[in-house]
Symmetry: C2
Subunit: 413 residues, 2 copies
C-alpha cells in the first residue's frame, strides 16, 4: 500500500527542474521574523539582485518586521495581528514599503508577482497561507511541517492541480531531496531521516521527569524556536518529519526510518536497490537547506560553515529508543493509520507542548496527552472528513479543545 | 589552472545518460579471472538476459577462464599467453565457445558487437586493450587505475574523439561519480576520496619496518589482489586514485583530497559551493560499484550486503599522515607536476611492489624507490613526449628498468 504514491516531491522535482530558470526569483517570506525567515533573509542578502522580496510577513512583531522589510527592500510588509498595524505603519514611515495587517492581507500576501513562497510560519497558523501558495502554482519552499502533517492529501491535490512545486526546507527532507536527485522512485529501497536524539538522548525516564522548559529548549546542535526544540527533545519532531516525508516522497511508511545521529552532520540518507546509499551531510546551518530550496537545481555560492570531518573525528549512529521516547512510536502509529490520526497527533502535540512551555504540564506528560487525545478522538470524533482546509481547521480546533481539557486534567491530577 | 578541464567524466556522464538504454548490454570482461572480473560475473549472473557476454579474457589461467566462460555463456575466451592456448582449447571442448590466444587476439577482444568493456586487468598490462576500448566509442567501465594514471591525456582525447564513456569502477571514484550525479562542475567545491588507512594505519615507522608481504596483503575491509593490497598499505593506492580522480573529473588538484576513514563505509564525498556535501556509502562490496558502472543511470536490484549504520555504531575520520605514509605525498607531488611524473610514479611503484612481494625489498623501501626513480628520471630522462600509447609504454619500460636497478641497489645495500 502506498496511499501517497503520487506524492508531491517527485512531481515537485520534475517541475522544479524545468521551471527554475537560473535567474531572479521573486519571494514572499512568511514568518520573516522567525528562525527560517531570518535565515532566509541572511541567504538572499548574499545575492542582492537575484531574490527580490515582494512581501514579508510576521505575526505581530512590527518593529522587527519593519527592520527586516527595510533590510531586504521588500515592497510590502504584513502583520497578521490587526493591533500591530499602527506600529508597523509608523516603523515603515518614509520607506516606501506598504504596511498591511489582518487575515485577508496575509492571504493576499502570496499573490503575483511572487513566484516562490518561503513558508516559515511554525504550527497550524501557517496552514492557510501555505495552502494558498500550493494552490497558486508557485514554488512552495516549505519549512512548516504541520502543513503536510495535518493536510497532506489536500496539499498534494492542490499542487497537482496548480502545478506548484513543494521543496522541503527542513534539513532532513532537504537531505533526502538532494540524495534522491532525479532518481526514479522504483530504484529507492529506503529513506532514512536522522535525529540528534535531542538534549535528553541518554537520559532515563526518571531523569526526564525533571525536565523544565528551559532545559528542553537547549538543543545540542541547532538554534531553533522553542516549540520545535521541545519536539526535538521528545522525538515528536522526528515523528512529524516521518509523516512529512511520507507526504513529500513517493514511498510507503515501511521504507521510511529514523536513525539517531547525535552530531547532526548526516541529515538524511537514501538507500538504493543496488545497496548503494547516498547521504547529504553538512555543518548544522539552516541556511544550507534554505539555499537549496531557493536555487535548486542550481546551488548558491553560500558562505556557510564548511564541514570538516577530520576535525569532527567521528560520527555516531544508533537506533531510536521508543520506550524512552514514546512520541516517536505515537507518530509512527498515526502515520500507519492515516491523515486524520496525523492531524490529531499534531494538534494535540501543539497544545501539550504549549502547556509544557508555560510550565503547566510535565515534560513526560506531553506524549501521554497526545496518546490520550488520539485514543479519545478515535472513539468519539464526529468530523472525520478532511476534504477541505476548513474541515482540517475545524477538526484541528476540536482536537485542540479536547487536548486542552486533557492537559488541564493532567495538571489537576 | 585546470589542465584536465575537459575531463572524461563529465562528458562521460552526459554521454552515458543518453547512450544507456535500460536494455541489454553486450560485455567484454577483460581480466575475467581477477577480483573485478569475478565480481562482475557475480553481478551479471543475477540478470541472465541483460548482459550477454561476448568475450572473457585472462592472462594465462586457462582452467578458470574456461569455467567462467561456460558459466556466463561467453561466445569467445582469450588467454594473453600463447602457451595457454592448448589448455584453453581442451577445457572449452564441446562448449561452442571459441578459444583464442595472444596479444593480437586480446586487442580484437573489444571489437563489435561489444558495447561495454569491463576493464579489470591490474597494472600497465591493461593499458593497450583499454585504450582500444576508449578509442572505439564503447562504454569503458574502468577498474584499471593505471590507464588514467599513466596516460590520462591520451585516454581523454581518445574518448572525446570516439564518444566513449568512461565509468569508474573503483569504489571511491564510483562514489564521487554517484555523488556528482548530474551537477554542473562549477557548483563543486571539493572532491574527497576516503582511505581505510590500510592494515598499518596506526603503526609507527619502526613497526612498519617489520612488515612482510603476508602482513601487507591482509586488507582490513576489502578482499583485493596482492598488488592493490600493498598499495593500500602504503597509501600509494590512494595517491594513484587522486591522480585518477584528476583525470576522471573536471576539477583541479587543489579541489581533490584524501580523508582517512578506517571503516571504508563512506567511499567518497562531493562538497558543493553552498556547503552541502553529498556522500556515497555502502558496505564494502565491489559488486556495488560494478553494478553502478554496468547500469547507470539505472540501478540494478542487487543482492549485495546492505549498510546498517546503527549496527556499525560509529564512523571515524582523520587526516592522512604523510610522514608515516610518504607514498601519498609522492603521488600528490607527481599530480602537481603532470602526466609524465604520474607515469613514472606508477611504473616505479609497480616494480617496487613486485620486489617487495617477492621479499626482495623491505616495505618501507617501496616509497624510497619511487622517490629515487622520480628524482633520477626527472634529471636524466630522454623520452618526455607521451603523445602516443607507444610513447607511454616505452617510457614505462624505461622507468621499470631504472626502478629495477634501484631496487637491486637497495637489496644489495
Amino acid at each position: 500500500m502506498m496511499p501517497m504514491a503520487q506524492a508531491l516531491s517527485v512531481d515537485g522535482i520534475e517541475t522544479l527542474n524545468t521551471a527554475v530558470a537560473p535567474g531572479e526569483r521573486r519571494l514572499a517570506i512568511l514568518g520573516a521574523t522567525g528562525t527560517i525567515g531570518r535565515n532566509t533573509i541572511d541567504v538572499i542578502s548574499c545575492f542582492p539582485d537575484r531574490f527580490p522580496v515582494e512581501v514579508v510577513t510576521a505575526n505581530r512583531n512590527a518593529a522587527q518586521l519593519a527592520k527586516l522589510a527595510r533590510a531586504v527592500g521588500a515592497k510590502r510588509a504584513i502583520v497578521a495581528d490587526d493591533a500591530a498595524y499602527a506600529a508597523l505603519k509608523s516603523y515603515l514611515a518614509g520607506s516606501g514599503i506598504v504596511p498591511e495587517a489582518g487575515a485577508a492581507a496575509m492571504c493576499d500576501a502570496i499573490s503575483a508577482p511572487v513566484d516562490t513562497v518561503m513558508a516559515g510560519i511554525v504550527g497550524t497558523a501557517g496552514l492557510e497561507t501555505a495552502y494558498r501558495a500550493a494552490s497558486s502554482g508557485m514554488t512552495l519552499a516549505l519549512a512548516n511541517k504541520e502543513c503536510l502533517v495535518a493536510a497532506a492529501p489536500l496539499f498534494r491535490a492542490a499542487a497537482e492541480r496548480s502545478g506548484a512545486s513543494i521543496v522541503p526546507i527542513d534539513s532532513e527532507h532537504s537531505a533526502v531531496f538532494q540524495a534522491l536527485a532525479r532518481a526514479e522512485p522504483e530504484m529507492v529501497e529506503s529513506v532514512t531521516l536522522t535525529a540528534s536524539g535531542g538534549p535528553f538522548r541518554t537520559w532515563s525516564r526518571a531523569q526526564m521527569a525533571t525536565v523544565t522548559p528551559r532545559m528542553a529548549v537547549q538543543h545540542p546542535n541547532w538554534s531553533m524556536g522553542a516549540k520545535i526544540s521541545v519536539d526535538s527533545a521528545t522525538l515528536m519532531n522526528k515523528g512529524l518529519e516521518l509523516i512529512e516525508a511520507a507526504a513529500l516522497f513517493p514511498f510507503a511508511a515501511d521504507r521510511l526510518s529514523v536513525l539517531i545521529h547525535p552530531q547532526s552532520i548526516v541529515h538524511g540518507l537514501v538507500g538504493y536497490r543496488d545497496g548503494s546509499v547516498i547521504a547529504q551531510l553538512s555543518a548544522p546551518d539552516m541556511r544550507i537547506p534554505i539555499a537549496v530550496g531557493l536555487a535548486w537545481p542550481n546551488r548558491l555560492d553560500l558562505p556557510s560553515k564548511r564541514l570538516d570531518l577530520s576535525d569532527l573525528a567521528r560520527l555516531d549512529f544508533d537506533e531510536p529508543d521508543r520506550e524512552r521516547f514514546p512520541a516517536l512510536r505515537l507518530a509512527e502509529s498515526a502515520l500507519a493509520q492515516g491523515p486524520l490520526h496525523c492531524l490529531v497527533l499534531n494538534a494535540a502535540n501543539e497544545v501539550a507542548v504549549d502547556h509544557f512551555l508555560r510550565a503547566k504540564l510535565p515534560f513526560l506528560k506531553i506524549a501521554e496527552v497526545v496518546a490520550e487525545v488520539l485514543e479519545r478522538f478515535d472513539s468519539g470524533a464526529s468530523i472525520k472528513d478532511l476534504s477541505t482546509i476548513s474541515d482540517v481547521l475545524n477538526t484541528d480546533e476540536n482536537v485542540r479543545k479536547l487536548a486542552g481539557d486533557v492537559c488541564r486534567r493532567f495538571l489537576g491530577a
